[in-house]
Amino acid sequence: MQLRHSFTELRQGLRRNVSMHIAVVLTLFVSLTLVGLGAMLNQQAVKAADQWGSELQITVYLCRDGDDNPACLSEVTDPQKQQIATVVEDSPEVAGSYTETKAQAFEKVKELFGPERFEGPDAALTADDMAESVWITLEDPDEYEGIVSALKGLPGVARIQDLRDVVGPILSSIDALKYGAIGTAAFLVLAALLLVANTIRLAALARRKEIGIMRLVGASTLYIALPFLMEALVTAFLGVALAAGALAAFLKFGIIDRAAQGLTFMPWIGWEDYYVTLIGIGILGPVLTLLPTLLLTRKYIKV
């Protein structure tokens, strides 16, 4: 297929409708940035929840060898674990629970502080220094006293950590930001779709004479639609590129250089999460412009 004509049309189309295209690119840029932000905040929330449990959870740390707690006479024994498990299972306040092994706890620590300090002969910690723990998910976050008092003082229990007071506000503010970003993005996505639709309408109107002739002489539908599709792809590419830049700046200057430096107790998202987000908006951007283009070109240039 001879594409020379399509590229000429593409160039003309972009120039003829430049203000509309800029509007589309900017709307796409902002909406994709917000969608990406929402996705990254979601990853952040997941990371935080993995570390601390979600706000419905309480953590029961079991005794380890040489525990600070004087009630711990030795490493927790299997019968003690059995008894704790029975108490947890029988409690009506508990929705579910799982046990985190020493090795798993060690992995978390390594992830949070980086693995370098925990390897080799003079490692700061080893898996044996970690406590085994039981993570309990509550039926209702407000009803926890029964299970806490039942577990408190049981042999083998070192301490019960109810991080909900600490984690709760952080998680809920991440959630609020996430939903705010996604909600705003939804409106902007709608605006972007309508803008693309308007752009196509104008372009089809401007080219109706040529389109009519192309249909008459037997140009294929794809050939007629190609300049429109390429315009859609170009605007999508620009929107995605700007959003990718904005998200990279947010990650670098907002998270890596600032938040992660200040709040080291929290695991932060990094570049690998950014790449996942980038793939997402890299797909979403073209879909947002191609979808209305395909639908409308079918309508306007039907053979």
Partner: protein
């Protein structure tokens, strides 16, 4: 080459059908005038041949294919076998004469070298040699129609459809255009021309199919515009 079999076309809304049980058979290489007053169904018949619309009932065959059963993606292929000329020329004002003619080949994917070869020879055929670099509005009406004919014929279609091609032209210019269409017909191209230009029909003495209220009222091998049967 073109066959209508009991074709009826009804447009939505009340009123009589635009075409009512029409049967016409046009052989390869024929030159046929489709005459009749406005609203008699001429344009509807041409639109059915081009598959711009489909009959309500009956069948339309073009080049051996039943066009109303043609899949949508095959329609462009059908139209490549049909050249079309209109009363209002439909040229692209911002393209030169050569570019207008070349456009028809470009958009169906012909190679540059083929276009460079065939466009000048087609312009010569229609009597526009040396005017390839002009813009349409620098030409007379007759010359513009010649450009449109060149564009319709440049791909050497089997069928040429002309909808009132002389409608905007004076009699002398019309005669030139008719001569050109006659020459194209002599190359073996089937020509179907809708018109209510009495003069050209009487001059050409070709087959005439007359429509009135969507029905064929006359089909004469060598007719004039008005009925020869008094």
């Amino acid at each position: 080459m073109i066959r209508f079999e009991k074709v009826t076309k009804t447009y939505p809304g009340p009123g009589k059908p635009a075409l009512d049980n029409v049967s016409i058979d046009i052989e390869k290489g024929e030159f046929v005038f489709l005459v009749g007053t406005s609203g008699s169904g001429k344009s509807t018949a041409l639109r059915l041949v081009l598959r711009e619309s489909r009959p309500t009932s009956g069948r339309v065959y073009v080049a051996g294919k039943e066009v109303n059963r043609l899949a949508g993606w095959k329609v462009p292929r059908l139209r490549r076998q049909i050249g079309t000329v209109f009363q209002d020329f439909r040229l692209l004002p911002n393209k030169t004469v050569s570019e207008n003619v070349a456009f028809a080949l470009q958009v169906i994917g012909k190679s540059r070298s083929e276009i460079d070869q065939v466009v000048p020879s087609t312009l010569e055929l229609v009597g526009l040699e040396g005017k390839g670099d002009r813009l349409p509005d620098e030409l007379s009406g007759g010359e513009q129609q010649r450009v449109a004919i060149a564009r319709a014929f440049v791909n050497r279609p089997m069928i040429l459809i002309a909808d009132e091609p002389t409608g905007n032209l004076d009699p002398t210019t019309s005669a030139g255009i008719m001569k050109l269409l006659g020459r194209i017909n002599e190359t073996g191209t089937t020509v179907l021309m809708a018109t209510h230009d009495e003069y050209v029909v009487d001059q050409m003495q070709k087959r005439v199919v007359e429509l009135a209220h969507g029905r064929v009222t006359r089909d004469e091998a060598r007719g004039g515009y008005g009925s020869t049967v008094v």
